[in-house]
Amino acid sequence: MPGWWSADVAIQISYFVTAVLFIMGLKRMSSPVTARSGILWAGAGMAVATLITFLYPGMSNYGLILPAIFVGGVLAAWSGRRVAMTNMPQMIALYNGMGGGAAAAIAAVELYRGGTEGYASTTLAVAGGIIGAVSFSGSLIAFGKLQGLIKRSLRFAGQQIFNLLFLLAALVLGALVIAHTNATSAVVTGFFLLALVLGVTMTLPIGGADMPVVISLYNALTGLAVGFEGFVLNNAAMIIAGTVVGSAGTLLTQLMAKAMNRSLGNVLFSGFGDTGAAATGAVQGSLKPIEASDVGVMLAFAQKVIVVPGYGMAVAQAQHKIWELCQLLIDRGVQVRFAIHPVAGRMPGHMNVLLAEAGVPYDLIADIDEINAEFETADAALIIGANDVVNPVARTDKSSPIYGMPILNADKAKNVIVIKRGQGAGFSGIENALFYLDNTRMLYGDAQKVAAELIQAVKAVG
């Protein structure tokens, strides 16, 4: 074996390859054509890095490392295979929290052990520790909320000040840890406990509608924490991967907040998310019901139909039936498009995943900028389980909480058919002016059942 070759060189080269594979993988994941291969590339990078780390000089405790990887990996693979596509956002939150917890655990081991050398290293360990711990407990709360385990949003007067005090206390303990580089265990323990509590109290007041933005933020934070702990351990793969995710995640968080017409500060500190804030504003007109058979005829003889799906469609598991209906229409020569609002579903892009699951090809799916001009030429807009994202009030009523949010111009279509379970208001509790327009007809019923009736009606046209 030549003299320059050693386990350390092999490890460094492998980490370099991993970093390249991660960046190329993420790049490929940003286009629908290459996305599938992107995750395979990134996965290969992870496998290389994990395997080579077993050769790390001076490692012991293999008897603990192997079972931990096995148990964690098997549980995650099992849960990841089983989770329904509708529950994907909270599952991402859960896995993300685990990453944050791991980063905090690295910080804790190094700080208890006195393994950090010098102020820079200790400071980064502490910074990564608090960020990781907040991301861990915060993500668990986000998971609990979206999964329906935590129903109420805890809010009380002076909550922001309360949280600020918690943050300050954690920072003071963190500074103490840094100041005496060999801090007592008690200070380290107190620091981590405060950070964990902070994550909980920060996340509890945030409403369910805003949770995706919060999950994305915690994703970026976990990346940052991983990057910081990478500096502590002198591990280039962790520094690069963590920092790339930190900045990519921050950008993604901003894009999501923008798509929801909220600023990040607003999401974190206001708590509109699920309040159902004052749904006033009287709406003129009446609701006009229609039968499925009539809608079937209308769709069958239309030239162009735009489907606007919302989370309600996914909850009713109607996407397969809707796609079956659309295929019938396509075979009749009707031009069918799906219009997706950025916040349709539980997080931006979630509805695309749900439609993809039903087999809808992604080139029939258009986003808001692409499709909005087309509503004027559409014979029918079919609204299924969507509400706030097609409410014209967002354009006109300055007093409405959703004023200024970009909406799909479904009201411009010649006919608007709204498939809806009952007469309730949307997620935000705001009355929908679209439902009262002259060209709107309401088709009441469970989305899946209604879709089946529509299929029969279109088939009956022959």
Binding site: I92, Y95, I240, L255, G359
Partner: protein, 102 residues
């Protein structure tokens, strides 16, 4: 590596992350978030090293939890991202795929 070199790596990696994600279509936001969630699963490598160097029972316990969580992040992140991306398909030669034979 020296502090300055580390700082350069940090700066360049931050720009890389930003550039890689900029201009990504909304339809891929959820899978991409999931994908980046998988990528920070690299924390597994650090958790292994931390546990590998742990000595007291307390350090070993925390290190064990760290590796357990990190493995969950990496494996879970991979599985869900792969499941989502696998479903993204373009339509066939004409606009109606499958079912055409029926």
């Amino acid at each position: 590596m020296t502090g300055m070199v580390a700082l350069y790596i940090f700066m360049l990696a931050a720009f890389t992350g930003y550039e890689v994600i900029a201009r990504v279509p909304v339809i891929l936001h959820t899978p991409l978030m999931s994908g980046s969630n998988f990528v920070h699963g690299i924390v597994l490598v650090g958790a292994m090293v931390a546990l590998g160097g742990a000595q007291t029972p307390l350090e070993k316990t925390i290190g064990f939890i760290g590796v357990l969580l990190a493995a969950g992040n990496a494996v879970g992140g991979y599985v869900v991202t792969e499941r989502m991306l696998e479903m993204f398909k373009a339509s066939g030669p004409r606009s109606s795929p499958e079912k055409r034979t029926s």
